[in-house]
């Protein structure tokens, strides 16, 4: 897996808003099949970095290659094809409020103009099943869903085209601990089954510990370390001491299997 070409590669990235430098010469690479979490304090530019990887924002300098293609300088047609190969779960779900649950999930499939309505219905129901939503909620409007269900439906929509790469922005924000645990378990199960690559921005320690293969710590305007949990914890940096080795951090770490092994 290490020898494989990176699926996401960020090189020499600079982001500057006015006088405020968000990213200074930032590098990051993600290999296919792994789960990489971006952590950092608020204002450290996790979400900005994620949005730049998605092509929603343009960095001031540097390049971002996804599937080996520089997304900010390739032609529009190629970029459109790349966009069908990834799925995105936004922080608040970003379900289309004018469309029902069914239509939300069916939309990306319908946009392909390749499948008939009957086939699309089968696929949508299969995806609803995969995220654990009952078929009778298919006609519900997003405004009538609970927070946990919105996240699940949004995940089903992100996964409907069987993407190779999935971006998750704060997947457990706004969920209660119980729901967020089941949601993380769902993501982990789907990742094991479908073997997609995950890039995730989060500040939830439990999520971080239970699903990440590698953790990229954003601080001082760059990725200070990107490695396995045990490597990150041993790295000496004020943010890491604060974040991982505080009271909450230690509690979450004590549940991590990777650290208990000698």
């Amino acid at each position: 897996m290490i020898s494989a070409e990176p699926i996401v590669e960020v090189k020499g990235l600079w982001t500057v808003y006015g006088d405020f430098v968000v990213h200074r010469d930032l590098d990051l690479s993600v290999t296919p099949g792994e789960v990489v979490s971006l952590v950092g304090g608020s204002g450290s530019g996790k979400t900005t970095l994620l949005r730049q990887m998605l092509g929603l924002e343009r960095p001031n300098r540097g390049s971002i290659r996804v599937f080996g293609i520089p997304i900010h300088s390739c032609d529009a047609e190629l970029f459109k094809r790349i966009r069908k190969r990834w799925g995105v779960l936004f922080q608040h779900g970003a379900l289309y409020s004018a469309l029902s649950v069914f239509d939300n999930i069916a939309l990306p499939l319908r946009e392909l103009h390749a499948f008939d309505a009957d086939f699309i219905r089968d696929i949508v129901m299969l995806k609803l099943d995969a995220v654990g939503i009952d078929q009778r909620h298919a006609a519900t409007m997003p405004a009538d869903l609970s927070g946990g269900m919105i996240k699940r439906v949004a995940l089903a929509r992100a996964l409907v085209l069987d993407p190779e790469l999935v971006f998750l922005d704060e997947p457990t924000a706004g969920l209660d601990p119980d729901r967020s645990e089941t949601f993380v378990k769902l993501i982990r199960d789907l990742h094991l089954k479908l073997n997609f690559t995950v890039v995730m921005a989060t500040h939830d320690l439990d999520t971080l510990v239970s699903v990440s293969d590698r953790i990229a710590v954003l601080a001082d305007q760059k990725v200070v370390i990107c490695g396995r949990l045990d490597e990150v914890v041993q790295y000496d940096h004020p943010f890491i001491r604060n974040f991982f080795l505080g009271e909450r951090g230690l509690r979450a770490l004590s549940a991590a299997p990777a650290l208990q092994a000698p």
Partner: protein, 382 residues
């Protein structure tokens, strides 16, 4: 997803062979994932169906290089949603059929039966809805009156800042657009009337036509329609967004009355600003009319404006300005009513804003007709 060693990924393919014992074997190979199927789903679906009866054949899926839910579903549907008796499948692909089996297909939705009474039912329901809105608007007005009394009693409650902000955004910022529209209407009306009056030699009556027409009718109505479109929609959208972002609830839980803090100052601001705007629009429209009269009929400005008081009794001005206040209250009530009823979704925001503007413009014109009847014998020269 599955990197099959170094072999290049091939297009999806179906081949039918006959084995030694005479059984048909269907071989599926290549990439059966969404990227490959996107362009050839239909062809492959029919090719699979042509491959023969499901259970009479052996299915060899072990040469499939890439597979996903979409690919599995294409095959699964060709099998009529059940697993064939003879199937060879890679272990890692098993899971996709597991998902297909688990979901067991969707229940087809039943199309709604045709109902011959539907138009009548729809009409009835919308009549009830309209009546409901009317009652709710009346309730809102009553609540505002109660709030107004409370404010009058307790000067500390008076929302002056909101009121003055309203005067600025509804009144001051609308001065430009109302002046432009008023001026042009004055010019056009004067030009059209002058053409007709010249034929009968009644040039001097241009002052009567413009004076009464603009001050009594056109000024208030045009001005109100502009304000309904400009400020009515803004109020509805603002209240709607405050509903979406739960700001309205935040006010409620602090014990701050929505009607007192948000709606009353807006209504008061419109009720004060709109009459002033009406006076302003009428003035500018008369100037436009005078310019046109000078060009068309050679009537001097002095002659035009000095004969105005004689042609148009003063009460007409109060009628026009009073109409402005009434229309202003109507616009504010309707805009706030629809704003408060917006559901937290984009569709409802769009529908609510549209309905607010259409209803308030209609209400202004209906109210204008009613007032015209009520004051039909007021304000004419003896």
């Amino acid at each position: 997803m599955q990197q099959a060693a170094s072999k290049p990924v091939r297009d999806p393919d179906i081949q039918v062979t006959v084995a030694g014992d005479g059984a048909r074997v269907v071989h599926l190979s290549g990439a059966w994932d969404i990227r490959a199927l996107e362009s050839r789903a239909h062809a492959l679906q029919s090719a699979l169906r042509d491959a023969g009866p499901v259970n009479a054949a052996h299915w060899d899926l072990s040469q499939i290089q890439r597979f996903d839910h979409i690919g599995a579903m294409v095959v699964w549907r060709a099998w009529d949603r059940c697993r064939p008796n003879h199937l060879q499948l890679r272990r890692e692909h098993e899971i996709f059929f597991g998902a297909c089996e688990g979901s067991m297909g969707a229940r087809p939705s039943t199309p709604r039966a045709f109902d011959p009474l539907l138009p009548a039912v729809t009409l009835g329901l919308s009549a009830f809805a309209a009546a409901g809105h009317a009652v709710q608007i009346l309730q809102l007005f009553g609540q505002l009156l109660i709030d107004a009394v409370a404010v009058a009693r307790q000067p500390l409650l008076r929302p002056w800042r909101e009121f003055s902000a309203g005067i600025y955004s509804i009144g001051a910022q609308a001065l430009g657009i109302t002046a432009l529209v008023g001026f042009l209407i004055g010019v056009v009306l004067s030009y059209l009337s002058a053409e007709q009056l010249r034929v009968v030699g009644a040039d001097v009556f241009i002052v009567n036509i413009l004076g009464v027409g603009i001050i009594r009718e056109l000024g208030p109505v045009v001005c109100s329609i502009l304000v309904a479109g400009r400020s009515g929609s803004a109020i509805t959208a603002q209240l709607g967004v405050m509903r979406v972002t739960e700001e309205l609830d935040a006010l409620s839980v602090m014990g701050i009355s929505n009607t007192l803090r948000l709606i009353l100052p807006k209504m008061a601001a419109i009720a004060v600003a709109l009459p002033l705007l009406v006076a302003w629009t009428c003035g500018v429209a008369l100037v436009g009319g005078a310019v046109s009269a000078k060009v068309e009929l050679g009537m001097s400005f002095t002659q035009f404006f000095s004969s105005l008081p004689a042609a148009v009794p003063e009460v007409n001005l109060w009628l026009g300005v009073g109409k402005g206040a009434v229309f202003g209250v109507l616009i504010a009530l309707i805009a706030c009513h629809f704003g408060l009823r917006i559901q937290p979704n984009t569709e409802s925001l769009a529908a609510g804003t549209t309905r607010s503007v259409v209803t308030s413009i209609t209400a202004v014109i209906v109210a204008d007709a009613i007032l015209a009847v009520i004051f039909s014998d007021v304000g004419w020269t003896q």
